[in-house]
């Protein structure tokens, strides 16, 4: 139970850094969101064999984390959660794409291996960009800016609610599991026979809680959409930040500097 409590706290530990002060923290949330969005789009837009051109993109997370003093360990632990998924996605490339891309010291490297590492690296860059965004911007500000960008209110409200209540749900699951274990002398862990009713119970409790939360919202006049008025204009420093974090990478995307280095060296 204590282990689950610490895991729940970990979910929110990155966002707790967002209240600090730094050159990055102090920027308008809209520019931070746009910067991360543009960066992710650029990273994802590369072809699956274009690994070399992705390497300079490592500067984005490195520089931002240095400026915002975000601990690498905190970010890397969370990136590690996403890696198994992209490993599964990328492994088929190694198996099916066997055309030789290049040789290194006589060892042939297949295009499948190149695309595999490209997927891994791109996952790393994109997930890191999102985690840095969360570490430097409170979730409430992020959701305000999403609304400002005309993202449908329903999606943003759902995002806020999931973020707010995921810890509560996990806490409830943890309590149920502890109660189960204290009365389960024959098995170690949740037996497959009981998984259905366990998950079903959790679903019902979640539904009940959602209904209570919705009632609480209705009692305070909720009209079915968010009524927050978003203000706060951008400053000169915000525009500079946006330019500094997007233009270099747009140029890297448009112009192939690896070809330049190949010609030089």
């Amino acid at each position: 139970m204590a282990n689950m409590q610490s895991k729940i706290q970990e979910i929110y530990s990155l966002e707790q850094l967002s209240g600090r002060k730094s050159a990055v923290h102090d920027r308008h949330p809209l520019v931070k969101l746009l910067s991360a969005f543009v960066y992710i789009v650029l990273v994802v837009s590369f072809g699956r064999h274009e690994f070399g051109r992705l390497i300079p993109f490592i500067f984005y997370p490195v520089v931002l984390m240095a400026l915002s003093e975000t601990p690498w360990s905190l970010v890397l632990r969370r990136v590690a959660i996403a890696i198994p998924f992209c490993l599964l996605a990328g492994i088929s490339n190694i198996i099916f794409d066997r055309a030789i891309a290049f040789s290194v010291g006589g060892i042939a490297v297949s295009a499948g291996v190149v695309s595999f590492f490209s997927i891994l690296f791109r996952t790393f860059l994109c997930v890191t960009a999102v985690l840095i965004l969360v570490a430097v911007t409170p979730v409430s500000q992020l959701s305000n800016q999403l609304r400002r960008l005309r993202v449908p209110d329903l999606f943003v409200t759902l995002f806020e609610m999931v973020y707010r209540y995921i810890g509560v749900l996990l806490d409830e699951a943890s309590t149920m599991y502890t109660a189960y274990m204290l009365r389960s002398t024959e098995h170690k862990g949740l037996h497959i026979r009981h998984m259905g009713s366990f998950v079903g119970q959790l679903l019902i409790r979640s539904y009940d809680r959602a209904e209570r939360v919705y009632n609480a919202m209705k009692c305070r006049g909720y009209p079915g959409r968010d009524t927050r008025k978003i203000k706060a204009p951008l400053s000169g420093a915000d525009y500079v930040y946006l330019a500094a974090t997007t233009l270099p990478f747009i140029l890297l995307r448009v112009f192939d500097i690896t070809a330049v280095f190949e010609r030089i060296f």
């Binding site: 409170p138 009632n215 305070r220």
Partner: protein
């Protein structure tokens, strides 16, 4: 002022949760609502704010009859504090939670801010305005939940088991706060000593029906009456 006249609330499965119940809460009164588990306390509170519909009878809040067209107006006047603060604190920050009601009622941001700060200061939790509810203690969550309703400046506040999840110190703090608030109050509670401290008048309900209505200490110390109602008397 709340006037409840012969209301009946029936669940979809046909269970009569409230049966021909009538009572009045006058301006400034603090009334405890006491009954055994399943007596209908929460159902009654939810019907007063229009969350659960009544099948018969009427509810008047400050002279306004509760109906589909008057829901918003009634909910401005009657603020409900739910039993579990986690159900009431659903925004990322406490400030946004306390501002939620006033914003939905169309107030300007300046007025919203004034109301939020006033509510938080009244309850002694102004320092929590920029905090997330995830990190608050039980007592702080309870105060924040009350602030979310206080900012709406209702004439009546209704509470569902407000001492639930509170340690003795937080409970004592809650008693002091509730005793200070000038609003009409209806408080559903199992905590009889709490009821005795905060509410001069008590309504006893049993199986959705009015069982007794009168002086708190007189009713709660009547062992036979309380036993008939399915509750232990106050000692």
């Amino acid at each position: 002022m709340i006037e409840v006249k012969d209301i009946t609330v029936t669940y979809p499965d046909g269970t009569k949760a409230i049966d021909t119940l009538s009572f009045t809460i006058r301006d400034g009164e603090s009334v405890a609502l006491v009954g055994a588990n399943g007596a209908g306390k929460t159902t009654l509170l939810l019907s007063l704010v229009g969350v659960l519909p009544v099948q018969s009878g009427s509810i008047l809040v400050d002279g306004i009859e509760l109906g589909k067209s008057t829901l918003n107006e009634v909910r401005r006047r009657v603020g409900m504090v739910f039993q579990n603060p986690d159900d009431q604190l659903f925004m990322p920050m406490i400030y946004d939670d306390v501002a939620f009601g006033p914003r939905n009622f169309g107030l300007s941001e300046e007025d919203v801010e004034k109301r939020v700060l006033s509510a938080l200061t009244e309850l002694g939790i102004a320092h929590l305005r920029d905090r997330s509810s995830l990190k608050l203690s039980g007592g702080e969550k309870r105060m924040a939940a009350i602030a979310t309703v206080l900012s709406m400046e209702p004439t009546t506040m209704i509470f569902d088991e407000p001492t639930a999840f509170l340690d003795p110190r937080a409970r004592r703090n809650l008693i002091q706060v509730l005793s200070r608030l000038p609003h009409s109050k209806l408080i559903a509670t199992h905590d009889l000593s709490f009821a005795a401290e905060v509410c001069p008048r008590t309504i006893l309900i049993k199986k959705g029906r009015l069982f007794a209505d009168g002086d708190t200490l007189e009713l709660l110390r009547d062992e036979k009456l309380m036993d008939d109602c399915g509750i232990e008397a106050l000692r």
